[in-house]
Symmetry: D2
Subunit: 377 residues, 4 copies
């Protein structure tokens, strides 16, 4: 299968360039009978869309989604669901000057050498604009997971550059443009971003995502493990350079007695595994963390080469996010939703008949939020 | 496709349980004409096999591989290559006592709840024993990548629990049982492990893998990015909880001016990208780092439950690696080789005709080793 | 992968219902650098579109295609090509009366029982309207196969109900609405169809497709044989109930001395194999034949049941093809093109390096047309 | 996925050459909890194995199967099931003389030109010997389909060269070496074969396969239709040149009033559809027919070329089936079983929750056998 399809049974096939006529996707394999509307998908898209605060790109894209197929009288029919988002604000003139050069940190040189041709307008296919279709497809997966299994998927920013953001509450995430789970720290984030914008530079971030309510048993070892597919999905988000499940890199210095989560009839005592053991969900919260690199499009001068291999100086004006991590939270949630739904269907295919007498245990703590994310001292 | 096949065009389908009659795999899609022998594959297997030092499990498995098909008169024919490794040292009696309980940190509970049945002997399918077949399949991929493109894939241990291991030279990696790239630190590692073994506990580790010589252009965005597939493959190794490409989580605190790798006609000035941009190889070294959790099988008492959900105390005697990270290096190399070969074929399928006039640039430094791994202050 | 994607490397993902807002597809994996335009695709669509003669459905669909992505400055970029065709002439009122009943010979009952929901308007997803997107995607494959390998794909009607249509010339195929390769027989076909329309009944047909210029070596045995994938693609066309390669069912009564095609340095002496041996193209013409069943939508009364299982009488007015075989030729050509292109890429992936000294032989006859289709006495 | 894996969720990956050390397969995706033993699989293998009568090849292969994994304490565990069959009777010397030439009607020339290398011993990978593993894998699918859904899959020879074999009873199929469903005709078949063997020539055959008890709803349109996947599987059997579902090519001359199967509350009145409508099973018997070409290995002289392209005369002694169709019945049954099981799982994945109030109807006739195969006047 070529590279633009995500999932084995719940399949999202994406298309579209940043400055072409449209972006969109085909979602194949969705179970029939799910009530879904363009309005519900729009709610998710609006969380990711540009221009919502002064800290993100000012490109004006309403990101209005149209459902072209697969939904009849308000519910999914089991046939492919095509979603279409027309591009509106294509200021290609911003990009004419980069047609002959390669922006460092972008995929310009790589696309050019791979394909021998390159849609240079706004990064073309490599633009983060494509992630809108992931959010749209993810909205369908979230709805189904919630309705069918009560799974809730939520993300937040846990670090902006040097500023760690202690988790306080999920409610707060919805109230600020950073997806920060902490009201008190927002002024500090705003000040940092205002300063950064002035400097012309950009900064990285860390995003955490948690899925609550995933039943034990999802994941297809030994290769298509749940955590392996999550890592694939998250590393496949533009600008992500690292992925952790549960304790993540902290496990390097942990002892077995500290890391492995003890079990009691009342539930697990800890969740260093991040909800996945042996590639299969354990019934605990799925906890994922990822590193988002700083935007490569900055106003400051950078050395590069042109198509002939001559040295050039590149700086990028146009309209860009100084921290792409800010808008990454809804994308990461969507990717997790798509992976989980795909595995729910895969599990049902092979093991739909399985029952055991063993009670299902979950996290011990009633909320579990306290342990999210794992402490980073 | 079910979960035991790795790769889209270079496909490794794995089978076998820790204490069943055999483990093995079918490698489908290998180009014809590659000289390969059981002896060559054996060399790689011997690097991973148990019992090679006092710091790893003492299970005695010669891991002798037999080629059942796909090779004729010493070269691959283009048909499926079946590799078979008979299990020799199956002391199932070690495991009878865990048939009714779940070992914390293992996948016992998850396999049981997913499948409703469980081969409890030595972890069955979830055992790290299965990774031998990855190493065997990886040996074929390494050979082809080396012959066809000059790609060299090498890994090393960069941290053992609290002990960071500064990179000194590749040569050293081959001379100690830890795959440590540093002779001076080996006594410290040995002392640490001896102490650990006595305590009955286990410890985590960090492994780095580097591929040199990968040409620009491999990777199939937007989903099957080279880095996404690497993350999938690495997170799919038993006990891995985190994966980084290039700067990895360090990018969270980096500015754009620091992170994005400037280009000159002589080459890239840095490699924070770890050799992948926009999901496509850049021509620089591919640099991957992963966290391996501490072994869950320890002699110390742990709380757990049994099949009826009653509380029990579990401790694991048998023969186990106190640090599974020690034997992870050849596995990680093999996984990277398989992913790279798969992408080499995928790239050739779609873009086999592409040429550009733009010169191919690579890393600036003649060796590049200095920047491997990225500094972790 | 869910069921609406065709191909492994050249992947066509289809969407859309007969009476929804639009139909279309995403073509992923197309090599970059292929010049293609909406106008070129439109030419193929116009060959299949309804309303072109009195012998086909009178639904008025311009079938105007829009390219949404993947083409920049007139050439493919290697990224997904999205094709969109808006539905124009949706007279859903024609179908209100079938919402509660199942039309015999259609998939109404099957869709209902499978999905528990059904877009009854014009057959929804099961409508032959969906085949327009196959023709559109096939246009891209044809162009590439022609440019890159000189492959030419042509089909014709070889039988309409009881009337066998002897092959005379390819030129004639383009000059009549039946795709009949024989001018003299056209009046007979017209008279037959006029009579049939009056009767309110429908009729079957046989379609043959030939690909000339396919090099030796395409096909991935032992399962993904070229002929197996062709059979899959052709049987996957609405209303097809049988597929033959080369001699087809005639081989049942053939002896080995008659069937197996002798080879000489000048070429093969016959082509009973239909251009495929052992699942791999032989260098001869690929010859495929298929049976298209009579349209199930007829004006005459038929017994059926309703959703509650009660007996009902069904007859279908609306606008229908009395012989769906008439418009099947361009669809069959498109499906063959898509399969061949997919296999061209698959072959290049694994065997892109292979060369032999053995001369490539092809069909002996300079044109080969004489033997197309295999004689049916 | 490379070409040696059959199925999307129930996946059979095949390996092995005719005269290599072994053949076998990995069956991935089998639901856990199915009781299965080597003995049960052996029963199926014995039906296909060579040397069972004077009318088939005299190669002596016990075809003894070993289960290497995936089965624990007599039941499947949900992990990959590896099946191994060692080759015993490899008289490679029979084939030394064909190493430099290409046997007409075989895939020798095609393998050589595709792969640039060729295991010439007994046809290597292209040998029908590989079909033993399909039968072995199919035995698992048959068992599961029978246990879970009551599906019964049975095949028979319906024509041997010029001799049509009227269907009389399933019982008879088991009592003669031809799988003929008619006792009276067996002497005629034996006489025909004896004569044929003397002549040194070979002959084609027609095989029919029927699956009874398949519930309505299996199949994944619009591409992965049940009939499309059956056509793929059947055309993928060595020597098959044509596939029909239900009325097959007879539908060319049928009217809609004759072809489309009327429905009543008591069931369908006919089964021209062969149990599949719109690519989805209808609840009626699945009826498949296929044409098997005459064996290409014959003792009579045939013109061909050698590796240098020079003309040669080829005749094949060795040990061969004069009618490969005779042993094709168990293979066709196995392939149908594998496809059906794969679709059962795929259907469950997407539509496992679906229910309707509409009663399920099946074939009207209590046995349905009367209409099998469709009449061929």
């Amino acid at each position: 299968m070529s590279g633009n399809t995500l999932g084995k049974l719940f399949c999202v096939t994406s298309f579209g360039e940043s400055h072409g006529p449209a972006i969109g996707c085909v979602v194949d394999g969705c179970p029939p009978g799910l009530p879904i509307s363009a309005e519900e998908i729009q709610i998710e898209l609006d969380r990711r869309k540009p221009g919502t605060s002064r800290h993100v790109t000012q490109r004006r894209e309403p990101d209005e989604v149209e459902i072209l197929s697969g939904v009849f009288e308000g519910v999914t029919t089991g046939t492919p669901i095509a979603l279409l988002i027309r591009n509106q604000d294509q200021r290609s003139r911003d990009y004419g000057n980069i047609a002959e050069t390669f922006r460092p940190g972008h995929a310009d040189y790589e696309y050019w050498q791979k394909y021998g041709i390159r849609d240079y307008r706004g990064g073309g296919r490599s633009s983060a604009r494509e992630t809108a279709v992931r959010v749209a497809a993810g909205a369908i997966a979230r709805k189904w997971l919630q309705e069918r299994y009560g799974v809730v998927i939520r993300g937040f920013m846990s670090q902006l550059g040097p500023i760690r953001i202690p988790f306080e509450s999920w409610d707060e995430v919805l109230r600020n443009p950073f997806f920060a789970p902490n009201a008190g720290i927002v002024p500090q984030l705003e000040a940092y971003m205002d300063e950064l914008r002035k400097s012309g530079d950009s900064i990285g971030a860390r995003i955490d995502v948690v899925a609550t309510g995933v039943p034990v048993g999802w994941g297809e070892p030994v290769y298509d493990r749940l955590d392996a597919d999550i890592a694939y999905a998250m590393m496949g988000i533009n600008a992500v350079k690292g992925v952790e499940i549960g304790a993540g890199f902290e496990c390097v210095t942990q002892h077995g007695t500290e890391h492995s989560d003890e079990m009691t009839p009342e539930g697990y005592l800890t969740n260093n595994a991040g909800g996945v053991l042996g590639g299969i969900s354990s019934g605990q919260d799925i906890i994922v963390s990822m590193a988002v690199k700083p935007t490569s499009s900055i106003r400051l001068d950078r050395r590069s080469i042109d198509k002939q291999g001559n040295p050039v100086i590149v700086n990028t004006h146009g309209r860009h996010d100084p921290c792409v991590g800010i808008r990454a939270t809804p994308i990461a949630e969507a990717m997790l939703a798509i992976v989980l739904m795909d595995h729910a269907l895969r599990h049902r295919a092979q093991c739909g008949d399985v029952t055991t007498e063993t009670p299902r245990i979950e996290r011990l703590a009633p909320q579990g939020v306290q342990r999210v994310p794992p402490p980073r001292a």
